[in-house]
Symmetry: C2
Subunit: 133 residues, 2 copies
């Protein structure tokens, strides 16, 4: 499986945003997850590839609160499922692309993930993901 795993959208008010995406746009009831390590609450719509994830700061000291303050709400990143994350990271490094993770770190469901800085990916913050459920 390769391609779009999910698109992450940054929102200030998770409950209001869920109402928009569920009640107005007709998406299914999302699963709500707290990620304490990143101080965010996430609403995940759907289970397979191509999910929409709404991400909101869990408190005023969340890094995401600072991002919203600086840039407002909006599209945040895309997560791409890649067949070989080490190979993709090596190719990016060879091009001089800045990586936010020098080595893959554990992601959800046993996956391995790494973020690529928008400067190395034509203006898009990209999360690479290999494996996992």
């Amino acid at each position: 499986m390769t391609g779009l795993d999910h698109v992450a959208i940054l929102v200030s008010d998770l409950d209001a945003a869920v109402k928009l995406y569920r009640d107005v746009y007709g998406l299914p009831e999302p699963e709500i997850e707290e990620v304490p390590t990143e101080k965010v609450r996430v609403a995940i719509f759907g289970h397979g590839a191509g999910r929409i994830e709404l991400v909101s700061p869990a408190g005023p000291d969340s890094p995401m609160a600072k991002t919203i303050e600086k840039r407002g709400e909006g599209l945040h990143h895309v997560c791409l499922e890649v067949p070989d994350i080490a190979r993709a990271m090596a190719a990016l490094k060879a091009q001089g692309a800045p990586l936010l993770d020098e080595v893959p770190r554990p992601g959800a469901g046993g996956s391995r993930v790494a973020f690529v800085h928008p400067k190395g990916s034509r203006g898009v913050l990209v999360e690479l993901k290999e494996g996992g459920k």
Copy 2:
């Protein structure tokens, strides 16, 4: 079918961007389409829901060239497949959300589409889509 139809990414150089997404990120060979009415060239990765579409100006007078000049490359919009576009648009209007299309217009493959201004959709430019192949 409801949920994410595609995510559109604005790029200045389509061929270079295709190399990144295909050769580094491992996406399949895209289909390239010219859309003369919007003065863009589009690289479409995959056929089903959850596609990634790279959009580039077809010339210096393309509206997308101006957007890149102003904001740079990056995530542009998400297209959501909705069960009833008229109902979604009525709900948005009732909330005072600004719509870029007052009535749905013809989209690809016999669909009907309408754009919602980011101000009415928590910072995200949203394309609503109903029907089509």
